[in-house]
Amino acid sequence: MNVMSARPRSAAPIRRPGLVVDGVLLLAVLAAIVLALTTDRFLTVANAKAILTSASLVGIAALGLTLITIGGSAVSLAISPSVAAVGMIFLSAQSLGLIPALVLAVACGTLITGLQGAVVGYAGANPVILTIAASFAITGIATGVSGGSTVSPTASGYDHLNATPGGVALSVYVLIALALIVEWTLRRTGFGRSLYLIGENRRAARAAGLPVGRTTAVAWVGAGALFAVTAAFTAAFNTSANVNLGGTLTFDAIAAVLAGGTAIAGGRGSALRTLAGAVLIAAASDILLLRGYSTGVQIMVKGVIVLVVVVTVHLRTRGSRA
């Protein structure tokens, strides 16, 4: 009896929210546009540059997280500590020169995150809990090695990363280039296609003979490299690094990925969507900042945006499947 009565009740609201959601979404977008246009100094070139610059650091890390999420490993909660640790390594290696320091940073970044990816990929460990543990371990080791102090650069080569060719921060160009590369990798390579399938259905992917463990680990290695790029830029921007360098980056990157509409369950999403999500959140924060709201309100709105997009994406994908 229960089964019979439960079926239609749970099936009926599936289609209708699709339309309602579209309507609500349209209204929200219109409201946001009106809000943006009526905000003083929003529509200036300087402000557009500011939005892009603030989106760039989060965006690069979020591209890395996109690889993790599409592959079905949900999220990494160890982004901030990884970025902090790699940032400290990057600055303390400045005496080797900029390029060797960058190479070292990327190597360390891929190692830190790749190790976690190997455990997730080969053993099927829960990525959320594993990365919580990893974040503790990375912070602990970084504190132990540095003695809890702040690392200062040993040479000034890092300053090249703060360049602004054509008046736009270098990190913005890097973000766009990396977004295109990641997008191409996801769409056009065998690795990308396997990653989508593994994210969509891990068991089916394994049955089809795909190297589930290896592909997952490679995705995390790529993510680690992208986190390292963010770390280098963040450390260069701050000109010093300690264990708090990552700040709220973990949640900012997750917010960008989810706000872009990538499903946390995996198998769907793209680098360009993440790029859009990062810019959306940066623009929202910018509007609130220009209107004089506090940091707290900005974070809160970020959370609400993520919640709304998560619910919307969920309802829409379910509607299209039904």
Binding site: V119, A137, T143, G296, V311
Partner: protein, 335 residues
Amino acid sequence: MRAGRPEASLPMAALVITVIAFVFVPTYTDSALTSFDVYNTFQILARLGLLTLALGLTMIAGEFDLSVVGTYAVGGMLTVQAGQQHWAWGLLAALGAGAAIGLLQGGLIARLKIPSMPVTLATYIALLGLTSAMSGGLTKTYSNATVTLWVDQSILTYFSPRSLITLGLFVVAAAVLSLSRWGRELRAIGGDRRAARVAGVRVDRLIVGTFVASGVLSALGGSLLSFSLGSANPDPGVQPLIVATAAALLGGVSLAGGRGHPLGLLAGILAVALLAEIVAVAAVPQYVSQLFFAGLLGIIVVIDAPDLHSALVRLRTRLRSSPHPRTSIQESADV
């Protein structure tokens, strides 16, 4: 049920080992144990116990409530800001907010069948923002010193009202889940939701109820902490979440859901509290204890990893049946 990870023996083993380690503290450090160390262990339990219970209950139901730390922060902040006149208003505001947050999240997750991770993550971010907006990003002090003194006064040498409330709620949760059918139903929806639904469990209602309980417990945890500290911090960081997760997993809850009991959770957080006290008594640097908890959590998550287990099983069967695998199958088929 898989062998090697029974939900009762892991918490018991963890508790026994940490109690032994605790009793023998004087043998490997310079300091002797005092009754204050026991009191302090229960104070650590009071600090993180309700978070563990909140997180553990949602994990038994097969969900994962990342927002507990956000609710914890909001509860603590509301307690201070609404309770300047009278402590009861602050407490009431905190509990009400916790219930509302749980209702919203549980409603979304149950009605729309969204995975709980992204929803509670978004709420977590929003709640941290809300707390920061409420306080202007600053730590707020609580002026009612009477309450602060009351919650931490020692009772029967080892306890305080704060730790007794926490222990009492564990006992209540254990009694409710053992004596009513909710305990069985909670494990059922965590283990196999579709089967539970077919068997007549009101899944949606139970999920909403679990998230409301989780919200109220986390908010109360934040309240008690604010009373005790005489202040509220807008950003508790991720450490409470990490420690509560470790405690819940040690308490016999599985990441896959469907396993666990409040008494196991109590044993888990007690073990963690004892460890934290040992670390404090032994005066180990904080990063070492951080590494220790990371290692603990890492080991648990790897043991719990499904593919590792199946890979080991495969390896074991291959080793056992290595001489004539073909013929043995043939024989059993013939019989």
